[in-house]
């Protein structure tokens, strides 16, 4: 008995002590001399130990060096990599290799490179492997661009137009994710000569390109992969598509400035290729500043935040709640892209979708009542800790808060439709007028005699979304509609939400999903994802329109926009779409969210992108690895050289 008591006392004390120790204010990291010394020691040690077996000594060295990278040569990241790397295969989308491979609107160009780099700040693309701007032919069915003379693969051979063509041919032949998602828009990619590439669009029955926007996006979203290496890969895998995609590609040839140095389940380290072609005057003219790009694999956001505060992470792309505390209260050398709230540039619209098949949610009055009753300022202040523009600053539409997109619709024309939220009385009146009232006196409204009761949901552990959903549920209570919350695990949630060939399961009446961010096809691509009925009836729908909204007028507009090049017409069409969206309310945006969060700690490095940093074109706050943001790697300097 005595022991038990003692044990309990001890355990309660230990728990108390554990949490107390966790609450200490993070102090500034001490000078980083120590790791540097260790690292310089490592190479001298290795050869003396095994002078005869040189290959083994070399194989051991990366692990040794990776264990204590020279701090002054390493840029540390967090928030990208959440598990061990699977492979280095640029054809596959399941490498779990966020530091090296991510083909997206702002493609990650650390190891593999795209012909063009997209810049989300000005909406332009800038040549990388390509030489100069691309040109459309007059009929807008073909894009032509040249490959830079200087562009070289890591094995020293030049990057050629043939590589671009063969990459596309391989994507199609093996039906890779890239091939599958672009095959409807791109017919062929051909090499006219060793430097000139022609991308031919798929044509519709009228002889016009099916979707010129998607064709243009291809050249900034997708990597160029070496033909010779691809052929090696094909030979090795015997032409089998599954095996080709599953290959880990340790021998891959790349063109980018970084490549694999070390990976295990605790960290990923890329090392600079000092022969990188980009130091040619026709591109960057020098090498990027950090020799190593390293990403420690943290257990969770909290662990990553602690590391950021302690200066063990330089660039953080995770959501650090109340990030301003780090500089306001702790005086740490931490900053974000904007000095004040919302701290970053909003690019996507996390949105609550209505399940339009749920009882009563087919009624506009119910959808609108809930949407206008929600307390958006509280969502932004509490769930997002003010890291989102408010709906007073950027009224709701289908556009993200960037000036380029905001200019695409007529603000005056939809002014009356843009609700600000917190309109409890308005919501009540709307429901009363629609005859949706509490008939049996239980405090909840009924529609045709059946109580309106919904479940609002989002994945478990997605803290800012969960907090937002709580606020949505609170709004329901205020207007007499019962909304409870539920947070399934992501593995369950995603299978339910992305299945659009049947009505959504029970318990998914109001649910949160993301929208597309910034990219060369935006805002068209985002609007299509949010509203187009083409995504209904798919076994696995990762595109959007998860609430299964269908409106022929909207579909027609979405169909027409990509071929339209007259700005005035475009504005008219976009305004019409916003008008329909805000009148039909198939979903409602809860907050604005940056493309990726961008918080930097300037303990070791400085010169990170920030508003008015004088860069031209401006470097976007995207981790210094994505699209044009990689330009930021060339601007970094050491705080204490």
């Amino acid at each position: 008995m005595k022991h038990k008591t003692l044990w309990w006392l001890l355990s309660s004390l230990t728990i108390l002590a554990l949490f107390l120790s966790a609450c200490g204010a993070p102090t500034e990291a001490p000078a980083t001399a120590e790791p540097t010394e260790e690292a310089t020691e490592a190479p001298t040690e290795a050869p003396t130990e095994a002078p005869t077996a040189e290959p083994t000594a070399e194989a051991v060295a990366p692990a040794d060096v990776a264990a204590s990278l020279p701090r002054n040569e390493t840029l540390y990241f967090n928030g990208q990599q959440w598990g061990a790397v699977v492979g280095w295969n640029p054809y596959s989308s399941s490498n779990n290799n966020a530091m090296a491979i991510s083909q997206q609107d702002s493609a990650r160009v650390t190891m593999f490179e795209t012909p063009y780099l997209y810049n989300m700040l000005d909406g332009q693309v800038y040549p990388l492997l390509a030489d100069g701007d691309y040109t459309w032919n007059d009929a807008r069915t073909e894009i032509t661009f040249k490959i830079k003379e200087a562009a070289k693969w890591s094995d020293g051979t030049p990057v050629t137009a043939e590589d671009v063509a063969y990459t596309w041919a391989t994507h199609v032949k093996y039906n890779t994710p890239t091939g599958a998602s672009n095959a409807d828009y791109i017919d062929t990619i051909e090499a006219l000569d060793s430097q000139t590439v022609v991308v031919k669009a798929k044509l519709d029955e009228n002889g016009k390109a099916v979707n010129p926007l998607m064709v243009a996006a291809y050249v900034s979203n997708n990597y160029v992969i070496q033909k010779a290496w691809t052929q090696t890969l094909e030979e090795r895998t015997g032409g089998d598509a599954t095996e080709l995609l599953a290959d880990t590609a340790e021998d891959v040839v790349y063109s980018g400035p970084y490549h694999k140095f070390f990976t295990d389940d605790t960290k990923v380290v890329l090392i600079r290729d000092d022969n990188y072609w980009g130091q040619d005057a026709s591109m960057w003219g020098k090498l990027p500043a950090p020799k190593y790009l390293a990403h420690t694999i943290f257990k969770d956001n909290a662990a990553g935040s602690v590391a950021l505060a302690q200066g063990e992470v330089d660039v953080s792309q995770q959501f650090n709640s109340n990030v301003q505390v780090l500089w306001l209260n702790y005086g740490l050398p931490v900053s974000t892209y904007l000095p004040e709230a919302p701290y970053g540039i909003g690019a996507s619209l996390p949105t609550a979708f209505y399940n339009l098949n749920s009882y009563g949610l087919d009624q506009l009055a119910v959808r609108k009542a809930i949407a206008i009753a929600v307390d958006y300022p509280t969502i932004i202040a509490n769930a997002m800790t003010n890291q989102s523009a408010t709906f007073d600053q950027v009224p709701r539409s289908l556009m993200n808060p960037t000036p380029g997109e905001q200019a695409l619709y007529d603000h005056e024309a939809v002014k009356d439709l843009q609700w600000a939220g917190n309109d409890i009385e308005g919501a009540k009146k709307l429901l009363d007028d629609a005859g949706i009232v509490d008939t049996d006196g239980d405090g909840w409204r009924e529609y045709n005699g059946q109580k309106l009761s919904y479940v609002a949901t989002c994945p478990n552990g997605w803290s800012d979304w969960q907090a937002a959903i709580e606020v949505v549920a609170a709004a329901g209570k205020k207007i007499g509609i019962e909304i409870t919350t539920n947070y399934p695990e992501w593995s369950v949630y995603q299978t339910v939400v992305t299945k659009s060939d049947a009505p959504l399961a029970e318990g998914y009446d109001i649910f949160m999903m993301w929208s597309a961010g910034a990219g060369p096809t935006m805002p068209w691509g985002r609007i299509r994802n949010m509203l187009s009925s083409e995504f209904i009836g798919m076994a696995s729908n990762w595109n959007g329109n998860w609430g299964q909204y269908s409106n022929p007028d909207v579909d027609a507009l979405i169909q027409a926009i990509p071929s339209e090049s007259d700005p005035a017409k475009l504005k008219e069409m976009y305004t019409e779409l916003v008008k329909i969206y805000l009148s039909d309310i198939p979903s409602f945006t809860l907050m604005y969210r940056p493309q990726s969060f961008h918080t930097v700690n300037e303990t070791v490095w400085t010169g990170f992108p920030h508003q008015d940093d004088g860069t031209n074109p401006p470097v976007p706050p995207l981790d210094l690895t994505d699209g044009w943001s990689i330009a930021g790697l060339y601007n970094l300097t050491l705080v204490n050289p």
Binding site: W8, S12, P26, W327, V334, S335, A381, V471, T485
Partner: protein
Amino acid sequence: MKHIIQQVFHSGKFIVGFVILAAVLLIVIVYPLLIKDAPLAIIGQGTFFPPGTYVNAYDSLGSPKYILNLEHAAAKRIASKLSDDDRLAMQEWLVAAGIPENEIDISNTEQLLRQWENHYDPQTNIAGMTNAKRNYYIRLNASLKGLLSTEGAIIAVKNADTGALEETGDVVAQSDYVNIGQVANVRRLPLGTDNFGRDVLTELVAATRVSLQIGFVAGIVATLIGLTLGLLSGYIGGLVDDGIMFITNLFTVIPSFVLLILISFSIGQEKRGAVTVAVVIGFTSWVWTARAVRAQVISLRNRDHVNLSKLSGHSLVYIIFADILPYVASYVVMALILQISSGILAEAGLSILGLGPKTTEVPTLGLMMNWAMIYQAPVLGKWWAYLPVLVTIALITFSMNLMNTGLDQVFNPALRD
């Protein structure tokens, strides 16, 4: 019975534990009667407001004004905007901008501010200055505006028709004070707000209540199962004993917390109410009660009074309840107390892992911890969001353990003083 209670209340440890627990219970019962705010109402727009008294700024403008001429008011006002560190940083900037160091007197506020105003330019790029530092100077510069002004602030309202500002004639002088008691809206938040903007104290009281309920339910379930199995196993013996001990041993080797995690996870969040969680905790923590009760019963089974009872033809149930249970009762009460406190801890542990009860319906101590952790309160130094919760958990378990030790001393002759 009276004698036993008297004895129990002579134990110092028991009394201390009892008083703490009673105080907690009293607060849990009385607080909601006095303060009727809904515990889960989101009142704060923003996260983690620090503890304190919140006075409505708008209402205080219209409250009766009192003029107090206090000696250090101006100095305090300046100090709140311009700390010693700020002065040093200003000096650093001015030196970098080319002002000779001996011309800067950081203790002379007026001179320092004049120099600052004349020389500071946010556009100037100082070599080696980080963006974080640059932002700091911009913030500092903004907060210094009008710092030395002795004029009052003029209140103006917007004309609804023209949109122009019209002075109301009200001037708030620097020596004006209001009495908090006369301001219409004042809210005391002794423990500030949490990440949702909820009043932590109100939430904490409600959460303590729920956690205690979970603890009681879990403790009673565990003790009932353990007691029943222990009594049957110990008294009947033979095959029944073997069977029950087999199951008990199975449960002993599987760590109960792992079992708890697995069961909670498989129930799924939609079905995890506070009661369900409590029952699950109870079902996974009965093992050592069962073993201990069985051991005691085995030693009791062959006592004379039990044999006598058997000879008299009493039924099994009667013998267990009348002849055996009273002898293990003191032990069972102590076990119950420990089970309750471990039930509260188990709930907290589960909730921190995100496997606790559903969020919206009821607050629990574990859920409060969970959200404080998710919103990084420990990293950000927002102690009021989690420390009071920890202290409450510690107090409850501590008080129960003290009571248990006290009881032990009373009932266990070997430990008696």
